[in-house]
């Protein structure tokens, strides 16, 4: 278990956050959320509820039209290496090998060569891809590509890990494997995680708290936080009655019909 060391971590403060696109479509409004340092928060909701918008604002890819976001006390003004993003479609550089993809972030920080190699090897090993370090992304399965993407972000030692439906394109078995691994990685690194997903089960399995978002342009109500459900299950046995009770509770909230304010 010596592959991973505790990484950096930061708290997140979101207040009065809103996003209205040109043309007046309000994707999201009045989102308030505080995430503690080291916490794993999942965001669930139907398509168009603004959960991906929220994540993209946290990443700095989009600017909010109202409110503010602070990560580790610093306002977010654009993308940066303190906030690592794992995309659903991996976003690996196809012309770089697994090793080069993972070394990309450390190389931008101009770390000494030996340190870059050490960090790179460590995180490739942590996701179990040592044998494939010389391969290119196109030579790997989807699950393996997503492992590379996770290693690439972790090698950059982010204080906040943002994951946008990262396992949505994977088959069920691979998905379960990666969920298990992500839990383990989070236990080891204690990096704060914001995890956007369609799957309530995935959210309950992984998260300390589940943020339920509803609304969205198609409902005539901007996307907003409907409820925040703490998951206080000692063990995350997806077949246990307690687990399913939490799932039912969240499912009911996800399907709440939003009413115009």
């Amino acid at each position: 278990m010596d592959h991973l060391i505790a990484g950096r971590t930061a708290d997140v403060r979101i207040s009065g956050l809103g996003k209205t696109y040109d043309g007046g479509v309000a994707a999201m409004a009045d989102v308030d959320l505080t995430i503690a340092s080291g916490e794993f928060v999942a965001v669930v909701g139907a398509s168009g509820c603004g959960k991906s918008t929220l994540l993209r604002i946290l990443a700095g890819f989009e600017r909010p039209t109202a409110g503010s976001v602070e990560v580790g006390g610093t306002p977010v003004t654009g993308p940066g290496p303190d906030r690592g993003v794992v995309f659903q479609d991996y976003g690996l550089f196809p012309w770089l090998s697994v090793r080069e993809n993972v070394a990309y972030g450390p190389s931008r920080k101009k770390l000494p060569k030996g340190e870059i190699t050490a960090v790179t090897d460590k995180f490739i090993a942590a996701v179990g891809l040592t044998r494939f370090a010389a391969k290119y992304p196109s030579q790997l399965s989807g699950g393996m590509q997503q492992r590379v993407a996770i290693a690439r972000v972790l090698a950059n030692d982010p204080s906040l890990l943002l994951m946008d439906e990262p396992f949505g394109a994977l088959d069920a078995l691979t998905r379960t494997d990666l969920q298990t691994e992500l839990r383990r990685i989070h236990v080891e690194t204690r990096t704060t995680v914001v995890f956007v997903t369609h799957s309530i089960e995935e959210a309950v399995y992984l998260a300390d708290r589940v943020v339920v978002m509803t609304g969205g342009a198609s409902h005539g109500v901007p996307g907003h936080v409907q409820a925040v459900v703490p998951v206080e299950l000692a063990d995350r046995d997806v077949t246990s009655p307690a687990f399913n009770e939490v799932k039912r509770q969240i499912a009911a909230l996800v399907h709440t019909v939003p009413t115009p304010a």
């Binding site: 990443a59 890819f61 940066g80 690592g84 196809p94 290119y136 196109s138 790997l140 950059n156």
Partner: protein, 288 residues
């Protein structure tokens, strides 16, 4: 940490899928490629002998025999006839190749950075697009009289015309490549700590490499066309100059020899470019 849960080996091909044994069918295309050129040579010979008159007013009686051309080629390369063209290839080829290389390299150095900027920034595109569209339709032939007055004849005029002509396909290829870079890769680079300018170098450039190379190959082919044009008058050495010298002394075999040499030089330079690209990228998979 263990990774027993990872069923990896089955999912990964041991080699890129497109690499399969090719030895078997290699002879067939070579054999199939032979009959048509041989028939062409035969008809050429017969046409010359029979002084055929063909459509377009082609009078084949004025052609050299293929055998004469072969002799002229030998003389041009190793000096078998002891005339003005003996051994001349070794003066002409370096002179012409230097002009093509200088013009093409200059065009690439200007066109690639400009194309990257124009492809990524609307401001840069708005600034340069009208100018490019204004100049692009002007054929190099139309530039020749002006260039003759402004620069004169010689290496500089030749290199200028080649640069001008090779510039457009390269810049257009680069622009289209830079525009098609997946937004996701730019986001990935930014969130990993790449600066705005850094993404141009580390993402836009490699992601547009195939489009840039395509533009460069078109530009290089065009460079040889413009080389001949630029050597029509007043340039003493060069593959093109020799063709026009041969016309002036009515040595048709030498004209055809010059044509063949330019074809071979153009073909070889394209192969050389492809080789350089291959050495540069090795087996790296690039975006299609």
């Amino acid at each position: 940490m263990t990774t027993t849960a990872v069923p990896v080996s089955a999912a990964v091909p041991t080699a890129p899928a497109e690499r399969r044994p090719r030895r078997k069918g290699r002879l067939r295309p070579v054999l199939l490629g032979l009959p048509v050129p041989l028939l062409f040579l035969l008809l050429w010979h017969l046409g010359r002998e029979g002084r055929w008159e063909l459509p377009f007013g082609i009078r084949m009686g004025f052609l050299p025999y293929p055998a004469d051309v072969a002799g002229g080629l030998a003389n041009y390369v190793v000096g078998t006839r002891d005339n003005a063209f003996s051994n001349l290839l070794w003066e002409d080829l370096p002179a012409s190749a230097m002009r093509v290389f200088a013009g093409f390299a200059l065009a690439t150095l200007i066109a690639v950075p400009l194309g990257v900027l124009m492809g990524r920034f609307t401001t840069a595109n708005a600034l340069f697009d009208p100018m490019i569209n204004l100049f692009r339709p002007i054929p190099a032939t139309a530039w020749v009289p002006l260039v003759a007055l402004l620069i004169g004849y010689g290496d500089q005029a030749s290199i200028f015309l080649i640069t001008l002509s090779a510039f457009f396909p390269i810049v257009l290829g680069t622009i289209s490549g830079a525009r098609q870079v997946p937004e996701r890769l730019l986001e990935a680079a930014r969130m990993l700590g790449t600066s705005g300018a850094g993404t141009l170098l580390r993402v836009v450039l490699p992601a547009s490499a195939p489009a840039i190379v395509n533009g460069m190959r078109v530009g290089l082919g065009l460079s040889w066309v413009i080389l001949v044009l630029s050597e029509t008058t007043g340039v003493p050495t060069g593959l093109g100059s020799t063709i026009f010298l041969a016309r002036d002394v009515v040595q048709t075999d030498q004209i055809v020899v010059g044509m063949i040499c330019i074809a071979v030089a153009g073909f070889l330079s394209d192969r050389l470019l492809k080789l350089v690209v291959r050495l540069l990228f090795r087996d790296r998979p690039l975006i299609k």
